[in-house]
């Protein structure tokens, strides 16, 4: 297949105009229990008699384990088991790893003979209480032989660098360069090539609740039941079962609400495998719940850590022609998701601009740090930041206004295929920009900026960024890196069962997408209410465990609402088809003469000849013999909804196919003041306008923007997992890993534009990651704008006071 053979998009949908519940900021149906503190999080399920596991963490970044003496720990009263890494390797297989060449960087639940980062587990203790388990950890004697650590990702790629994994023979876990479009021509014809080196340091989700699992292995049946706050509790089931060497149909993973995730609980196999292994060994239920240090140092979910060398080919009139990216990403000691984060970036690598060609070279470096996982944005937020930095630099070098250069390059014809082959389904970037300029009082602040600089010597900066917000991934981004995918496109299903009881009450059963602070239950309740004309608060929502569940994938890539909406729509159609037939029979009418109205079926034009859903349901539940033979009792239907728009990459990888098609957009305008004496940054205003298609619950979406911006401010100014030159983790508590408080996060003015997607139910696009996908770029732009009169640009995040002061001392 070549790029000109793109399959046609799916047929465009027509969306219902008058919606009653979709679009309403109803109170969330999940909240009453959480307001009472009775959310039922994982730790709340711990009961007396359950045993507690605690993990001994490595204090060394890189060392050989010479010996482990567990005798004293095992002899302590109340200790049931002590398992070392070597013993764990006898009991379990390696953890699921989608990286290239996994046999040469084997990842296990505990380190076997070498520790590769500070915090990596070397042994686990099972005891009557967490207190006793931690007492026992103190009694384990480990003799380490230090090995030289490798900390800097660029140094890691140099010949002769200490190797994180000897069998791999290199610290470069993956390298590839793609060209999309005619890069050579665009750069040859450019009037100007803007170059920069940019540095994004690692931060992470840091939900206030850590990750854990309660495992209960029944030796009688061989059944392992696990409750876990990991969100994709369905899709990775078979892989966790493989690690534990048990059949997948003997493992039941059950959801519990998660106290935040932000990606970091997306896919958490290690706690599950640890708890499962321990429970099987001791024959009792065992809880393993990370403490905060575990979660910071050993969570497998640090965020991106990148060094960019970027070139942007531009014309004198401001036209952006080509983009050449050379990025090194510091993955830490393992690489569980491969370079999927860069696949994610390639979904929207050109942002909202008509850039015609892209060169993307990525090198994945292994170092002695906790490995990368997922953090809200999954690598796209870093690309947004990089691109907006480059566009601003281009504007500065061309003497153009930041608004003007963006307008000159906006994509305006949809659907639009970007050079990588992904499609942007719809959008109206000018409308978003216009609204943000008004909401953010852009002209007012430009005047104020000038006045305050001239009259008071203050450094005010106005950031302006316009970025894409991809949603609803298919898993192509994880495998197009390899020439042999060995599979067609991944369908990434999500399922819903709707059950109408004998009274007409509706229960929706979900098979994935556990609550983590988003509101899957509210979304589903609103979508069901829209279909059935009931109150969303009357819809009951349940979850099914993984063992006998329907196909489901789980959250990630802002897919939950769109995918659940598709499943609700499909299940509703089946319910209504059956209900229509039943109503027709009860009304002695032709099914085609009936119409759905106000929660029931009625004869078209004769509203008093009607049967409510409750009338129909009780008949179907109790009086089946009154119906034709082929109508079965009950009223329950399921829909497995597959990804609605994804296509294969071309064999030559000149075109990656469609893998992230529902692309939202946002414009952020923060106004900051930089204290050039101290390097401190404070906010004077912040406006954000997003277009995520049709909104289901506008206040919920705005809440996600607010929370994502707070995290993005953390990324931009405060948060960093700092490893020193020796590989020691310096930020292992919230004293050092600085999460923004209410004093660091400004009040936002939020606006919405709604450009419905032509390809999704109601025109919904995903929006859960938007705030964090925009704010780091926006805040950086604002700081750079403030310091422009001094000839200073910040090119490294987070912009701590030290980094700002250092930049002020060396203008560039």
């Amino acid at each position: 297949m070549t790029t000109i053979d793109r399959p046609a998009p799916p047929p465009a949908r027509t969306h219902k105009r008058d919606r009653r519940w979709v679009g309403q900021s109803v109170r969330r149906v999940e909240d009453p229990k959480f307001l009472r503190g009775r959310g039922g999080y994982l730790a709340d399920l711990v009961t007396p008699g359950m045993l507690h596991a605690a993990v001994l963490r490595s204090p060394h970044p890189h060392a050989r384990i010479v010996s482990i003496d567990t005798a004293a720990a095992a002899a302590l009263d109340g200790v049931h088991a002590v398992i070392t890494g070597a013993q764990a390797a006898e009991l379990t297989d390696p953890l699921p790893d989608f990286g290239p060449d996994p046999a040469n960087h084997v990842w296990r639940c505990l380190a076997v003979d070498t520790v590769r980062y500070v915090g990596e587990g070397v042994a686990v203790v099972v005891a009557d209480s967490r207190y006793l388990a931690e007492d026992a950890l103190e009694l384990i004697q480990v003799e380490y032989e230090s090995l030289p650590p490798i900390v800097d990702p660029q140094a890691a790629l140099e010949p002769g660098a200490p190797l994180v994994h000897e069998p791999l023979g290199t610290n470069c876990a993956y390298e590839r360069s793609f060209d999309f479009g005619d890069v050579e021509r665009d750069f040859a014809e450019a009037d100007l090539v803007v170059r920069d080196r940019l540095r994004w340091h690692r931060s992470g989700g840091q939900p206030l609740e850590t990750v854990g699992a309660i495992a209960d292995f029944d030796h009688g049946s061989g059944q392992l039941t696990v409750h876990t706050n990991s969100l994709s509790f369905t899709s990775y089931l078979f892989m966790a079962a493989a690690s534990l060497r048990i059949p997948a149909n003997r493992l039941d993973v059950r959801q519990v609400p998660a106290g935040g995730s932000f990606g970091s609980k997306l896919f958490v196999t290690k706690p599950l495998v640890l708890a499962g292994m321990c429970s099987r060994m001791v024959g009792r239920p065992v809880v393993f719940l990370e403490d905060r240090v575990d979660n910071i140092a050993n969570c497998d979910h640090h965020g991106s850590d990148r060094v960019y060398d970027v070139e942007l080919a531009v014309m004198r009139d401001g036209t952006l022609r080509g983009l050449a990216i050379d990025v090194i990403d510091d993955y830490g000691a393992y690489i569980q998701f491969g370079v999927g984060h860069h696949g994610n970036a390639l979904a929207q690598v050109v942002g909202p601009y008509t850039i015609g060609s892209v060169r993307y070279r990525v090198r994945a470096a292994l170092t002695n740090k906790n490995q990368q996982g997922a953090y809200r944005g999954f690598g796209s937020e870093v690309n947004n930041w990089m691109l907006e930095q480059m566009v601003d630099k281009a504007a500065r070098e061309l003497g153009m206004d930041p608004v003007e250069i963006r307008r000159r390059n906006f994509i305006r014809d949809f659907p639009y295929f970007i050079p990588t082959g992904n499609v942007y389904d719809s959008g109206d970037y000018d409308a978003v920009l216009d609204q943000t300029l008004r909401l953010g009082r852009y002209d007012h602040w430009r005047t104020e900026q000038k006045r305050l600089r001239e009259q008071e010597g203050r450094y005010i900066g106005i950031g302006l960024i316009t970025c894409a917000e991809r949603s609803v991934f298919s898993a192509t981004e994880f495998w197009f890196w390899f020439d042999e995918p060995g599979a067609p496109v991944t369908s990434m299903p999500e399922s819903v069962t709707l059950t109408v009881d004998a009274t007409g009450g509706i229960t929706a059963t979900l098979y994935s997408c556990a609550f983590w602070g988003n509101s899957p239950e509210t979304m589903v309740a609103q979508l069901v209410a829209e279909e059935f004309d009931c109150d969303p608060h009357d819809v009951s929502v349940a979850y099914q465990g993984s063992r006998n569940g329907l196909p489901a994938t789980g959250p990630g890539g802002s897919r939950t609402t769109v995918m659940l909406a598709g499943a609700v729509e499909g299940a509703t159609a089946k319910i209504k088809a059956k209900a229509r037939r039943a109503a027709a029979h009860l009304l002695e009418a032709d099914p085609d003469d009936l119409e759905w109205a106000d929660g029931g079926y009625q004869v078209r034009g004769v509203p008093d000849r009607r049967k409510s859903l409750g009338d129909i349901a009780i008949a179907l539940h109790l009086f089946k013999h009154g119906f034709p033979e082929d109508i079965e009792s009950g009223l329950e239907e399921s829909k497995v909804f597959d990804h609605p728009y994804t296509t294969m990459p071309s064999a030559d990888r000149k075109d990656l196919g469609v893998f992230y098609p529902f692309v939202g957009h946002a414009c952020h305008i923060p106004v900051v003041e930089v204290d050039i004496e101290s390097g401190a940054v404070r906010f004077l205003a912040y406006a954000a306008v997003h277009d995520c298609g049709t909104l289901v619950n506008p206040r919920s979406l705005a809440g996600h923007i607010l929370g994502g911006v707070a995290q993005g401010i953390g990324t931009a100014l405060y948060e960093e997992y700092v490893y020193d030159d020796d590989g020691q983790l310096l930020s292992s508590s919230y004293m050092d890993y600085l999460i923004p408080s209410a004093m660091e996060v400004p009040e936002l003015a939020i606006g919405h534009v709604e450009t419905p997607s032509p390809y999704t139910p109601h025109g919904i696009k995903g929006g859960g990651e938007g705030g964090r996908m925009m704010a780091p770029a926006a805040v950086n732009a604002a700081v750079n704008d403030a310091l422009a009169p001094l000839g200073v640009r910040l090119t490294e995040l987070p912009m701590t006071p030290e980094r700002i002061r250092a930049a002020l001392r060396t203008p560039r």
């Binding site: 959310g39 809440g703 004293m735």
Partner: protein, 170 residues
């Protein structure tokens, strides 16, 4: 094992006598011995405020308070707010304003808000912001929490009763 101490404390109006090791943290006593699972554990360093409860009316971090330090004290948790099915105005306004997402910081945040309003029934937005800066929320960006506290304060000043939660709809 260290000698245990007998302590007496009142939690949400109920008197308890407990035998505790000196090292037992108050949060573990509340959660594990008294089954008050609404007191959540966040950072375990006394930074995030998730574990906030009121001791004799003042907010404390129960993750860095020993149980023995609560001997003779009156402790309040979020359980004390709702009156059966009737939510406290703070809870009701957190619901109405979507002042929570994952709900994990919410009990601590609510108890801190109680303390803020006990000291100042009519705070400004800036005062609420400064007041809740003691407690981290990773989900909301704080804005809707501030709105909820202000709305609850207004209701509490006018003596408007809490609302029955099953009657409150969108």
């Amino acid at each position: 094992m260290a000698e245990k101490h007998t302590i007496t404390l009142t939690v949400n109006g109920r008197r308890h006598i407990a035998e505790v090791e000196p090292r037992m943290l108050l949060v573990d006593l509340l959660r594990d011995e008294l089954s008050l699972k609404e007191v959540h554990i966040g950072c375990e360093h006394g930074v995030c405020g998730t574990c906030t409860v009121l001791r004799d009316g003042a907010s404390i971090r129960s993750c860095i308070t020993f149980a023995v330090q609560a001997d003779g004290a009156e402790i309040r948790t979020v359980e004390s707010l709702a009156d059966g099915p009737t939510l406290h105005p703070l809870q009701d306004e957190f619901w109405a304003k979507q002042g929570l997402q994952c709900g994990y910081c919410t009990p601590g945040m609510l108890m801190r808000a109680c303390e803020i309003l006990a000291h100042n029934p009519d705070p400004t937005s800036a005062q609420v912001r400064e007041g809740i800066a003691s407690n981290l929320c990773r989900c909301t960006g704080y804005q809707y929490i501030v709105e909820a506290v202000l709305a609850a304060a207004a209701r509490m000043r006018t003596g408007q009763n809490a609302t029955h939660d099953v009657e409150v709809r969108s």
